[in-house]
């Protein structure tokens, strides 16, 4: 597979770190621009077409968080910004992502890990761009997914798969309705997680999104009416399961 092209901006006050990152990432159709502080980084971000930014968190004058915010204004939300940090406290894990970074790496970063992570986000950002061009409202189904599947499996096999998914999801829904009464959040989260992956992979975009939202609210212990939300998912599921075959052009 070809390497994804990419122009990468590195903002780090430590010269050795800059050199290290540059050595690992440079080449193979990637270009690396180096900045020794936030101000220089922002200047480069306005003049170059940046595909990905790597920002050190602990910097004097302008720290990585402030640099992230000002960088976002310049390069927009579709361009990945990754934090590099010396923190390794597991409590901090979510902190960067909640702040708005797409991802983060903890120093010391091995060359392979650095290269693979940057590569992953360059590919990912190409996907985000494709998605954001296709509109904002989540449709019930992702027809592209189904078309893709049709290239790799026969009609009969697909129908078998969808039937299995529907059967399993209906069973899960019954379990969810039971579990909400006994307040077993761990088991509920585990089921939601499975439905999310299954639904998304079979092109049930909106179902996957509904489940994802509930999963994250439940995990962050956001005040929610759990019974109502599960009820909503169950109702929505029975609604789309009655019409999916036509929508997805599967001739049953």
């Amino acid at each position: 597979m070809k390497n994804t092209h990419g122009i990468i901006l590195v903002v780090d006050d430590n010269e050795i770190n800059r050199k290290y990152v540059n050595t690992v990432l440079r080449g193979q159709s990637r270009t690396v621009h180096l900045a020794e502080n936030g101000f220089e980084g922002l200047k480069l971000a306005s003049t170059k077409n940046i595909d990905l930014a790597l920002i050190d968190i602990q910097m004097p004058d302008m720290d990585g968080f402030e640099c992230h915010n000002r960088m976002r204004e310049k390069i927009g939300s579709n361009t990945p910004i990754l934090a590099i940090t010396a923190y390794s406290d597991p409590e901090d894990r979510d902190r960067f992502i909640r702040f708005g970074f797409n991802d983060y790496m903890t120093k010391p970063v091995k060359p392979e890990v650095l290269k693979n992570t940057v590569q992953y986000w360059l590919k990912e950002s190409a996907k985000i761009e494709k998605k954001s061009r296709s509109g904002a409202v989540t449709p019930d189904f992702n027809l592209d997914t189904v078309e893709e599947l049709k290239r790799y499996a026969s009609q009969d096999e697909l129908i078998e798969l969808y039937n299995e998914f529907i059967e399993e999801t209906n069973t899960f829904n019954q379990k969810l309705l039971f579990l909400q009464n006994v307040n077993d959040h761990t088991e509920i989260l585990s089921i939601l997680h499975t439905i999310k992956g299954n639904a998304g992979s079979l092109g049930f975009t909106k179902l996957s999104e509904l489940v994802t939202l509930l999963e994250s609210d439940l995990k962050n212990k956001i005040d929610l009416s759990l019974n109502e939300r599960i009820g909503e998912i169950v109702d929505y599921t029975s609604e789309i399961f009655s019409e999916y075959a036509t929508q997805l052009n599967l001739n049953l």
Binding site: R93, Y104, K123, T145, R151, E168, G197, L202
Partner: protein, 128 residues
């Protein structure tokens, strides 16, 4: 097509829907699938048979995909270098670097992008 032409892929995934989905798609690409539904049985199957590739979910019962990958990579034989493609809904919001740190060669976030997955399978099995 003779038996020899098949590539052997170990798929570690606890969702039977995704298991069957991958089985069908990969069979189309001349891969023969062995399924494992938890991290421990991944290690058992990996020890007792030879595979060309592992597709590993992160969120596995008994032993998660990251620990299973680390376990495989810690082996002293040539087998320890088997390509591993990680797939996950990333329930724990782990940084992507954790997957590579554990020793995975590639990582894909669910929902699966099938074209990309097939490209990766071809890349690592040399099945062009």
């Amino acid at each position: 097509m003779t038996e020899v032409d098949y590539k052997k892929v170990l798929v570690a995934e606890d969702s039977s829907v995704i298991q069957n989905l991958l089985k069908k798609i990969l069979l189309f690409e001349n891969c023969k699938i062995t399924s494992a539904k938890d991290g421990k049985s991944v290690l058992e199957k990996f020890e007792s048979e030879d595979f060309d590739l592992i597709i590993m979910d992160i969120n596995l019962p008994l032993l998660d995909g990251l620990s299973a990958t680390k376990e495989i990579r810690s082996g002293k034989t040539k087998k320890a270098n088997i390509p591993i493609i990680g797939i996950s809904g990333n329930a724990k919001n782990l940084p992507v670097s954790d997957f590579f740190e554990a020793g995975m060669n590639e990582y894909m976030q669910k929902p699966l992008d099938y074209d990309q997955l097939i490209d990766l399978v071809k890349k690592y099995t040399g099945n062009y």
